[in-house]
Amino acid sequence: MLKLNHISKYYNAGTVNEMCLFQDFNLSVEKGQFVSVVGSNGSGKTSMLNIICGSIPVDSGTIYMGNKNITPLPEFKRLRSIGRVYQNPAMGTCPHMTILENMALADNKGQSFNLRPGIRRQRLDFYREQLKTLGLGLEDKLQVKAGVLSGGQRQAMALLMASMTPIEFLILDEHTAALDPKTAETIMELTGKIVKEKKLTTIMVTHNLRYAVEYGDRLLMMHQGKSVVDITGSQKAEIRIEDLLEKFNAISIECGN
């Protein structure tokens, strides 16, 4: 479904600071799979997501989505079938627009942004219903600007907005990292529910090993631009946090940390 073939990516190519992140990196994600990705800082997790979404170009290699080569497509075209939630809760909503306006924007993804009214009255109940599933009481605050919401509330909205229209992929970039433990828990539960309901192919980068173990049916550990652990099925179901931590430490010692 999603295929990264022989990806190479250098940062600062041609300078003394040249750094090779990916060299012949390959990854293939099946339709409907929920991949959790862990790894130390600088291991290439976020870069991988950026490469998939087209936020950064690759030096060589191809990216296939379905049977289509999306490597030459710009970011905004790729995001047509991808929903992405960022680490920073502010990235997913427009702070100076109301909750209602934000919902209407998200609802119009994939359609033409023309001169018809921005807010469709007949969709109001749908928006309220959707916001209700968050359990944050946002359905009664439709006229409130998104900028005054807390980080958790905004991230919940961002998740909802990213998955509102029919998409095939959900890309989660440490989307609980900036939240307090309880809110993070709520957002994760919500994520699991949305992924299951909409049968989305999902890649989730996280620093929380417990989430990586509890959620998803495949686990990837990245290190220096390579996947050092890649387990699925029963192996994934049986893995414990301790095992992961052990592996993590082993890698770090190699690095001299």
Binding site: K77, P95, G110, F113
Partner: protein
Amino acid sequence: MTLFLGIIEEGLIYAIMALGVYITYKILDFPDLSVDSTFPMGAALTASAILAGISPVAALFLSFLAGAAAGCVTGLIHVKLKVRDLLSGIIVMTGLYSLNLRFAGGRANVPIFTQETIFENPFLGSVVPQGLTAFAVVLILFFIVLVCKVLLDLYLNTRSGFLLRAAGDNETLVTSLAKDKGTVKIAGLAIANGFASLAGSVYCQHKGFFEISIGTGTIVMGLASVIIGIQVFCPDHRPYLFRLFGRTIGMRPTTAVIAGSIIYKACISLAISLGLEANDLKLITSMLFLIILVISAQRRKKVKAHA
């Protein structure tokens, strides 16, 4: 009375341009200097068009379209050639100066006093009684500004308008919505410069001439109008001012910008009536703008300290 009407007239003319600056500065967060040249472009085109026998009303539309085209150029330079926002505005501003001279037939000064304009034509002459022409001018200006404001308000509530607001608010979200943020910016700049050029057209018809230097300081006037208007009249920004009978008096930002433009012109004529000369006009314009910036920055600090 004449002074009062003069302030209103000038305020309304520049309000059209200020609506454009509101789009770039407030909505898109793009400091667009090209209005300094699209304003006189509207005037140059209008002077030439009217002398060539084109109807004054058609000249308004023509100016708007030409301004929009110039705005597109600024946008394309910024988006496609990846030149910084401020610099792309400066490039267009400088280049258009020469083009404006060409549009005006190679002359820096084109009088059209004897020609028909939207303010002076046989139809108005027959409808409006002799003593009331001054009021008729204000009414016509008010009507044009109102049409611009209502159209802009309507546009900002369309899906396309939502996307424009999103582009200034959170570019990432626009990309997430599978839309090219560059195109949205170009569209915003086109509308903004369309307004600036339209204002130039109205200015030319009102004053009866085109002059190459009328554009200098346009952006400063636009910014000052936007900042005064929003600071004073928008409850979002000033939650504790203008509470009357328990109700917060607030305006839509577009209305506030128009009011801001009139207040700004009033301040300028106040400064002149205090003894400053007309030659000091640009100096006053910029000093006043500086004062406004400093005051609004201090207020923002206070609000933050309280919150």
